[in-house]
Symmetry: C2
Subunit: 137 residues, 2 copies
């Protein structure tokens, strides 16, 4: 119990990576507070993010480091990195100058559950760029 409290009250950054070596990371617009996306980092991605100042994640589908914006140019400049009480989740407060979701929206969270429904979504955002233009080969 003492150890747990230390963990929560101390000033040592000891992020907990899960059994796959990953920690969830939430990107939040530092200016507006909008949550832009949620992804994962491995130890290397976190190191690269801290060193470079730009968000780098670990892509579970591609199984490699994913420098956010490497293809689209829609990077995230990191202003601050927050960690939660048990140090198993991060928030990146970021500055962005373009839409952050590959579908074309500012945020990946562009749909909400309709009131009084457990099945139907409503779109709550408009697209801010054309992904076919940005991701064209």
């Amino acid at each position: 119990m003492a150890k747990k409290q230390n963990y929560e009250e101390n000033k040592e950054f000891i992020p907990k990576f899960d059994e796959n070596g990953l920690i969830p990371a939430i990107a939040q617009d530092a200016r507006t507070g909008q949550v832009l996306m949620a992804a994962y980092m491995n130890h290397q991605a976190l190191d690269v993010t801290i060193q470079s100042g730009y968000a780098t994640y670990y892509s579970r589908s591609r199984q490699k480091l994913w420098k956010k914006g490497e293809e689209s140019g829609h990077r995230q400049k990191v202003q601050q990195i927050l960690v939660d009480c048990d140090q198993d989740c991060l928030i990146l407060k970021v500055s962005v100058d373009a839409g952050q979701c590959h579908v074309g929206y500012q945020s990946c969270f562009y749909r909400a559950l309709k009131k009084n429904s457990n099945k139907e979504l409503v779109f709550i955002e408009e697209k801010v760029y054309d992904p076919e233009e940005v991701y064209k080969k």
Copy 2:
């Protein structure tokens, strides 16, 4: 590819639970935009949340449903549930009237990595309640 696009562009809520039957859920203050905590839901927790209108998570450590605030009284009234492009992460926009972190802070994200350090944290919030009072037996 067509299927993937449908998934991202459709209005059907089909949340993806992981191999443990869980989906990450981020609680965000609907008024201030502050991210309060990140936790997990199983299918039942999501159902209970939708039906009751109050956030219910799945506690991985206790391996059971966790009605947020059942002990502290610090509940989260759900205003809106957002889902991301690939439907494997949720945001709960919630109304709260008390601190949400069991350590005594408004948000679980009460520490940030110090500038130009990869090891040292700084506290960025003050406690808003005394957990020993709230969680006393």
